[in-house]
Amino acid sequence: MVSEALIVHEPTASRFPVGRIAGWLLLAAILLAFPAFSGAYFVFMATLVAINVIATIGLNITVGYAGLLSIGHSAFIGVGAYTGALMAIHLGTPLIVNVAGGAAAAFLVGLVFGAPSLRIKGIYLAIATLAAQYSLSFVFQQWTAVTGGDRGLSVPRVDVFGFGETGFYYVVVALAALLCLAARNLFRTRIGRAFIALRERDYAAQVLGINVVRYKLLAFALGSAYAGAAGALTAMFLRIVNPDQFTLAASVFFLAAVVVGGQASILGSILGAAFMTLMPEILRAVLELWGPGGTADVAGFLSPLREFIFGALIVGFLVFEPRGLAGLIQRLVGRSNN
């Protein structure tokens, strides 16, 4: 039985939600004013969080809403990143076009890897995505003429409205907000409802007239497309693309973000992405303060520690709090209302 926890909860708003609109406006104002009040480092981190929110929502569509396990998410981010970077380098297209191109490319590659595995019931998508992780890495590394091999590609600087980093921040945040909204509304449509029905019981979904294979494939490819958009943004933001960015560990990172934030929850994706992006930074700060020895030691110790903590977060949340941070918050708020 699928736990009730994973069913989408839609708040019922009977009257005009003044409080909620005020809340949204306040949030928008904070996001808008944020760069004015904080240093370059915080704007950088906020941009990174927003990009990771997009990627996490993509994985949440696949894993949380449609119940399909993908453990190669970062490979699809890589497809988007390389596509976006190549478009920027060779075609000189504007940022938004590159992002769309990255998303489209990842969507198609997702179809290629999803098609053989989603015909069959069971754990095969997880294995196929693992295969995708390694075969796409192989392509990134070996197709030197196009991808630049291990050295990767360096991407020309994008200057949005002449605002530099801050301009990029606004674009990313706006795009993340738009894609959040799109995902939220998707699950009020026939397609989104079909994904959830599939997750709950695929035979029943089929009886209701849902084409199981087509919708599973669509859910997976859509998740990949979000990954591709996030990848193209990462490429344009960091201005470098290389195979080291798209490892299995990166895929585990996003899986942890989905689980920690809360499966099948948009709010959860945002919380999870923010938590996972900021946690290593805080960890490093703590280690540098109280850790043993110099900075070299910290770096060497940090990467296995991070791996351990990512794994522990996945395990801990699945066992003790399957609804993630979103569920935790919902419960706290619910309690205070009573």
């Binding site: 053989p116 997880a126 294995i127 196929a128 560990a249 110790f301 351990f308 794994g311 395990v315 699945l318």
Partner: protein, 289 residues
């Protein structure tokens, strides 16, 4: 002549995949969980052996027993502490837990033993073995022999012992097995314990050949290709598939280079999935939709 030598080396190294692949299959058969922590369990067994011999100066027979015991304890702990709490949840939750556990073991090993490669003491004879004028590295030959003995013992146990029958009964119909008085939860733990032995043993042999790093677990991804080709549920098929993949991989590595060698298993995975998802020897349990 060259190709014959590569072939023998390939077959021997394919033998090493068989143990780990058997570990995958036994857990999958008993409890339907696909264990993505298998590679890390192998690595953990190898590191335990290293700790016992090099760091604590025990003789290798003691170290083997201690490493296998530690590996079994880890496997049973994963099952008892985590997975059995989650029985009844969707399978993907269980699989995600194994992935998380794998990441934890890898991180913990990296913190304890560091990122660099460590070497085990030579407990397998180094002296190369000649067949005609074909040379096989001694460690590889003896490792293959050890693996062969363990795999045979496992298969006899699985085929003929009372508990082996109970595992197979559970895998073919869990509810009926429960009705016949088999304690299914105990069978799950037993399957994990056996997988622990297999993972530990194959980890020690692979570690003895190549040294140990926190990346040792990546071998398990080649094992994935073995399991897919054999068809997920076939114990006998795993032996053939393992040897075949080791052979193909070594030949590809010898003639096309290391990058292709690493890529090849995934090509096989995707090919099997596209052409014949049941694998070569799998039961026809696979449901198309």
């Amino acid at each position: 002549m060259q190709i014959l030598e590569y072939s023998l080396i390939g077959i021997a190294s394919g033998g090493l995949y068989v143990l780990a692949a058997l570990g995958f299959v036994i857990i999958y058969k008993a409890s339907n969980v696909f264990n993505f922590a298998m590679g890390e369990m192998m690595m953990f067994g190898a590191y335990l052996f290293f700790a016992m011999t090099v760091q604590l100066h025990f003789g290798w027979p003691v170290a083997v027993i201690a490493a296998l015991a530690g590996s079994v304890a880890l496997a049973v702990a994963i099952d008892r502490v985590l997975l059995q709490r989650l029985i009844g949840q969707p399978v993907i939750v269980l699989v995600m837990v194994t992935l998380g556990v794998g990441s934890m073991i890898k991180g913990a090993s990296g913190m304890i033993w560091g990122p660099d490669i460590v070497q085990m003491p030579d407990f397998l004879p180094r002296k190369p073995i000649f067949i005609g004028d074909i040379l096989i590295p001694g460690k590889l030959a003896w490792g293959f022999l050890a693996v062969g003995v363990i795999a045979t013992a496992f298969m006899l146990y699985y085929r003929f012992s009372r508990t082996g029958v109970a595992i197979r009964a559970t895998s073919s119909d869990q509810i009926t097995a429960e009705g016949m008085g088999i304690n299914v939860r105990w069978i799950f733990s037993l399957a994990w314990a056996i997988a622990g032995v297999l993972a530990g043993a194959s980890g020690i042999v692979i570690g003895a050949l190549n040294g140990i790093t926190p990346q040792l677990g990546a071998v398990a991804l080649n094992v994935l290709a073995v399991v897919m080709l054999a068809g997920m549920t076939s114990v006998g098929g795993v032996v053939i598939a393992g040897i075949f993949i080791g052979w193909v991989e070594t030949l590809v590595g010898a003639y096309l280079g290391a990058a292709w060698q690493n890529f090849m298993p995934y090509l096989i995975v995707l090919l099997v999935m596209t052409v014949k998802p049941t694998g070569l020897f799998g039961e026809r349990q696979i449901e198309r939709i």
